[in-house]
């Protein structure tokens, strides 16, 4: 295989699922390219990616803040009312001396999800403004490192499982934060399905190349 120079490697893609080598071809706006071997998405092309990304991450951030401020669930047990918020779940572990689990939960359900949305927001904003290519690079690297460690969706299912365990013992009321968390998780899942980090890298290359030209 002959290549012009090492830059030409940018036009090659290795499928992230089955590691088959592909050549990048231009595709129409709003369509996606699939791996010829395993059928997984190689990349999408969307001319409005930065706008969508910015809008989604801003919305996600708002809902995440709301989900952390208000009570998730309220229960009434033996005449006493109790409620939890997201921060309260891992703070309670700290109070009981479970530092490792508490720290892990704090990272998995609070710090990483928040960080991912903040990074996405800054990333799309900078890409839209076409500023600081070095900083967007560091943000992208950080993003791909912490992406697998965000577990808001799993936490949401855990809330339901925990509540089922309490049925019959306590009166259960869903709080505002539960519904905002549902929306946040929805946005989170939609974003990680629709916008792959590799597509942001492609967008970055495209935008800064335009800038240079």
């Amino acid at each position: 295989m002959k290549l012009e120079n090492e830059e030409a490697l940018d036009h090659l893609i290795i499928c992230h699922k089955c590691h088959t080598l592909h050549e990048e071809v231009e595709i129409e706006d709003g369509t996606k390219a699939l791996c010829s071997k395993c059928g997984s998405v190689l990349y999408r092309f969307d001319s409005k990616l930065a706008d969508y990304g910015l809008a989604l991450s801003a919305t996600g951030l708002i809902f995440f803040v709301l989900a952390n401020l208000f009570p998730l669930v309220k229960i009434e047990l033996l005449g006493h009312e109790q409620f939890i918020t997201i921060p309260k779940t891992f703070v309670a572990l700290f109070d009981n001396g479970f530092y490792f689990v508490g720290l892990m939960c704090a990272f998995l359900i609070f710090i990483f999800p928040l960080l991912i949305f903040v990074i996405n927001f800054m990333l799309f904003l900078l890409l839209k403004l076409r500023k600081s290519p070095d900083f967007t690079k560091s943000l992208l690297i950080l993003l791909s490192h912490i992406k697998p460690w965000s577990m808001s969706d799993i936490f949401l299912i855990s809330i339901l499982v925990a509540l089922v365990k309490l049925i019959g013992y306590a009166q259960i009321d869903m709080g505002v934060a539960f519904w905002t968390l549902v929306i946040f998780v929805g946005i989170d899942l939609y974003m990680s399905k629709q916008i792959h980090v590799s597509e942001i890298w492609m967008l970055r290359r495209r935008l800064y190349a335009q800038e240079r030209a």
Partner: protein, 198 residues
């Protein structure tokens, strides 16, 4: 003009850029992360996996959840919790916990052991198992093991009255460590190894 062998091309684990394999360590052209040649990756993955497996033993022996009710203290292990839910008739939840806390970790251990051995000693060379798919699936279901830890955290935060209190047990820490290291082991495993021995 440069001449490259297609087999020497590899994907950066961090950013996905295509790179030319330059031996031991190749810094990625795009993001600068080091892409290691396969030499160390199985050792690292083995170490994490063994830690996870060792931590899984106390995770099953010690109580996960301790209920203090009017003076009586009762602990329930992971398996005990599943059995209790089953007896109470919450079959779907019992199944979710059974899958997330017992089946998934064990399957993940076995799959990783199989993958780690098969890339070194090609025992599965002729078999029709799609190892990429197998690896990808373990990566996808792995984090769901955390359900039980989160459930314990939620219950412990929610129920702490004077007479009735739920606190996390020793197994919560052990189980969290086990899941954490299984995830690390899966991340440390180098998918490129699968291709080399096909």
């Amino acid at each position: 003009m440069i001449e490259v062998n297609e087999k020497e091309l590899m994907r950066c684990n961090v950013c996905g850029a295509v790179n030319i394999d330059r031996g031991e360590v190749t810094p990625c052209r795009r993001c600068g992360s080091n892409i290691y040649h396969e030499r160390f990756s199985t050792q690292k993955s083995w170490a994490y996996l063994l830690t996870a497996m060792i931590a899984y033993i106390p995770a099953n022996l010690y109580p996960m959840l301790i209920t203090k009710q009017f003076g009586s203290v009762e602990g329930s292990t992971i398996l005990g919790g599943v059995v209790m839910l089953w007896e109470h008739g919450s079959y779907p939840i019992a199944l979710i916990i059974f899958f997330a806390s017992i089946l998934i970790p064990i399957i993940k251990f076995l799959v990783l052991i199989y993958l780690l051995i098969s890339v070194k000693y090609p025992i599965g060379k002729d078999s029709k198992i799609d190892k990429h798919k197998l690896y990808y699936m373990t990566e996808a279901v792995g984090p769901w093991s955390m359900i039980d830890v989160f459930v314990v955290a939620i219950l412990a935060a929610l129920i702490h009255l004077a007479n009735v209190e739920i606190v996390a047990g020793t197994a919560a820490t052990a189980f969290a460590i086990s899941v954490f290291f299984t995830l690390l082991a899966a991340h440390a495993f180098d998918e490129r190894l699968i291709k080399e021995y096909r």
